[in-house]
């Protein structure tokens, strides 16, 4: 019996889809649904489409369509910010990661997210918000000029629709595998729904559905860890069972097994985790991926944007409850109580066993009866669709404001740009559908799409952060630093996959891995983290060198764009307990405590 099909996430980037490399169809299904479950799923589609139609009349201007009118409260901005990242690929992929690697997978929610989110809240959001830009490429235009904006705008547009297509493909495959649903039907129903509600309601509609999705994911998934821990006999018993089943291996620590690449199955030590994940990947993704940043830029004030981001950090830290714990419970409960041992995907396909990727659906199938299972499936569908909608709404904004307006039609009316936004949403979905079918028929494409985000986002962070904190950075420095970082990322990817006489994107050359990741034992994830860090250094280094050789902008030109030249708006007296810096400090202390507890 063949099983789920996607590989484990290639990197610790949270939007990075864990997608299929084998497009074969499967006739068996993991979950059986009842009419009640289908009614629950159907109700979800009715509500999201209804929201799209309802919100159309509130999204007539560009500011309303692309930035949701900049009226979001801190809570809605924070929920949307974190929900845009909480896709079903993430919950399923990282549960599988926890089953395979234990608690190490939780780093994606701790050092791999929280410091960067807090940095965005306390430092970078000020510049994004005060500059009143519509997008991250828009900030590049103000700070570095048109060339940098165009490079970022085009690369981001290209990237988002492809990632949307991967999400679409993965959703159809997951639904086909779990429920036996038709692949084409899944693609078209999900894509038409997303196209309709984003084209009608723009970012506002996407945000509404993301907040809805947040509640559905928690309500549909939280029962798994609750019931799992009850069945395992409590937290301590769960850990004891895992340790007893895996003598000599440490599945229940965050840091104590990161002393050397040989001490853990990831083939990574603490330097890769701290510098690769904690700095390069995390800051690149959370601080400069416009898909994320757009949600909090739409807040009603700078303080709401900052507080919303801090709220997002707290919510992010809670996600391991529904992701990591089910994976660990799989180790304890599935093996002990159900006699099921999960295996790598390649083994599952040849032996007919269950793969790591099935841990969350298996746990759902174990506990959730009719009705509850429908809620769980709805949560999965909502997670996939909000991931698609997030990409489409971000694409529409960047395409319209950062590609179409500056390069094609500079002087059209606001209504024209709104119309372009609506049409680009539909066209973006159509390109994503083509990508999904390309992924179905040419599975190797997925390998490239998995690393696509890293090629652009990490170097972008180096350039943006220098632009915000160093007024000496010049337009030429920004452009060449960004370009050099992209080329370095691509070059590193090619290098680790080159073998004498041929190129194989599916396998790593240990001799080259040793150069990039400092150990021949490094696996995909470790290689990606080190690559990200080197790319970041290249983009920062080239930006600095070229800036020092070229003429800087005047202070007047850099007003409200750079640290030291930006006036923070007075939003009235704020009690200490409402200040984002206070809550950021509280969350940071909490992060340290969690890391110490699970050291």
């Amino acid at each position: 019996m063949k099983r789920l099909f996607w590989s484990l996430p290639a990197v610790f980037i949270n939007t990075m889809p864990a997608v299929a490399r084998t497009p074969d169809l499967h006739s068996t299904r993991l979950l059986s649904v009842t009419p009640l479950d289908l009614i629950i799923v159907l109700l979800y589609f009715v509500v999201v489409l209804g929201i799209g139609f309802y919100l159309k009349k509130y999204t007539r201007t560009g500011e309303e369509f692309f930035m949701a009118g900049r009226k979001m409260t801190a809570w809605i901005a924070g929920l949307s910010f974190i929900s845009a990242n909480l896709s079903s690929l993430e919950t399923m992929g990282w549960s599988a990661m926890a089953y395979q690697y234990g608690m190490l997978g939780a780093h994606a929610y701790l050092i791999g997210a929280i410091p960067a989110i807090l940095f965005l809240a306390v430092v970078m959001m000020t510049f994004y918000y005060i500059s009143k830009t519509h997008s991250v490429p828009g900030y590049l235009k103000l700070r570095y000029g048109e060339a940098s904006r165009s490079l970022a705008g085009i690369s981001f547009s290209f990237m988002t629709v492809l990632v949307c297509g991967v999400n679409m493909f993965a959703m159809a495959k997951v639904m086909q595998m779990l429920l036996g649903w038709n692949f084409d039907l899944c693609i078209w129903v999900s894509s038409v729904t997303v196209a309709v509600y984003v084209a009608l309601g723009g970012l506002l509609s996407a945000v509404f559905n993301e907040v809805l999705q947040f509640f559905l994911i928690w309500l549909g998934t939280l029962l798994v860890p609750i019931l799992g821990i009850i069945e395992a006999g409590g937290w301590s018993n769960m850990l004891a069972t895992i340790n007893a089943q895996h003598p000599g291996q440490n599945f229940t620590s965050l840091w104590s097994n990161l002393g050397s690449p040989a001490d853990n199955p990831m083939g990574m030590d603490w330097t890769g985790m701290v510098f690769g994940l904690g700095i390069a990947v995390s800051f690149g993704y959370w601080c400069t991926d416009f898909l994320q940043v757009q949600r909090v830029m739409a807040a009603k004030s700078l303080r709401a944007a900052q507080n919303g981001t801090v709220i997002g950090a707290v919510l992010k830290m809670l996600v391991p409850i529904i992701v990591t714990i089910p994976g660990l419970l799989g180790l304890a409960v599935l093996t002990q109580k159900a006699g099921i041992t999960l295996v790598p995907e390649s083994v599952a396909q040849t032996t007919g066993g269950h793969s790591y990727n099935e841990v969350l659906p298996l746990m759902m199938a174990r506990y959730l009866g009719p009705g509850l299972l429908g809620l769980g499936i709805t949560a999965m569908i909502a997670g996939f669709m909000s991931g698609m909608a997030g990409n489409v709404s971000a694409f529409a904004t960047v395409w319209t404001y950062d590609v179409y307006r500056p390069l094609v039609n500079k002087s059209a009316s606001d209504a024209h740009y709104v119309s372009m936004g609506r049409w680009s949403s539909i066209i973006g979905v159509f390109i994503a559908i083509l990508t999904a079918y390309a992924a179905k028929f040419f599975s190797n494409i997925l390998i490239y799409l998995q690393v696509l985000v890293m090629f652009f986002i990490i170097p972008l962070f180096g350039v943006v952060i220098l632009g915000m904190l160093w007024k000496r950075a010049t337009s030429a420095g920004g452009f060449w630093g960004f370009l050099a970082g992209i080329l370095a990322s691509i070059g590193e990817f090619m290098y680790v996959h080159v073998f004498p006489g041929y190129f194989d994107a599916a396998h790593l050359n240990p001799d080259h891995v040793r150069v990039i990741a400092l150990s021949p034992l490094a696996q995909d994830m470790a290689v990606n983290m080190y690559s990200a860090f080197w790319s970041l250094l290249v983009s920062i280094g080239v930006t600095v060198i070229v800036s020092l050789l070229t003429r800087p902008k005047s202070d007047e030109e850099l007003k409200d764009l750079v640290y030291g030249l930006t006036r923070i708006p007075d939003e009235g007296p704020t009690p200490w307990y409402k200040h984002p810096n206070f809550w950021a400090a509280v969350v940071f202390v909490l992060l340290i405590v969690v890391n110490i507890i699970f050291w």
């Binding site: 629950i40 309500l219 009866g369 009719p370 509850l372």
Partner: protein, 81 residues
């Protein structure tokens, strides 16, 4: 052109969760009398009953927030007049 005040997001979420809660709670009560054919771990906890109740409770709480906001807005409009 004056547009009507937008319905709060919590209304949509509260309504959907309430309906979901009622459906799941109803299914749970039905299964007390007619247990499902398929066996589930910890079925004796009747988790669908209390989880359906949680969904109803969350739905009503969110809906109450919307009502409170509407009433507050109404009062401030009265004062403005």
């Amino acid at each position: 052109m004056e547009r009507t005040h937008r319905i709060e997001i919590w209304f949509f979420i509260g309504s959907l969760l309430f309906v979901y809660g009622i459906l799941i709670l109803g299914a749970g009560l039905y299964h007390l009398v007619h247990p499902p054919l398929q066996q589930f771990a910890l079925a004796d906890l009747h988790v669908d009953i209390w989880w359906g109740g949680v969904a109803v409770d969350v739905g009503i709480s969110l809906y109450s927030q919307v009502l409170a906001a509407v009433e507050q807005r109404g009062e401030s409009n009265e004062q403005d007049r």
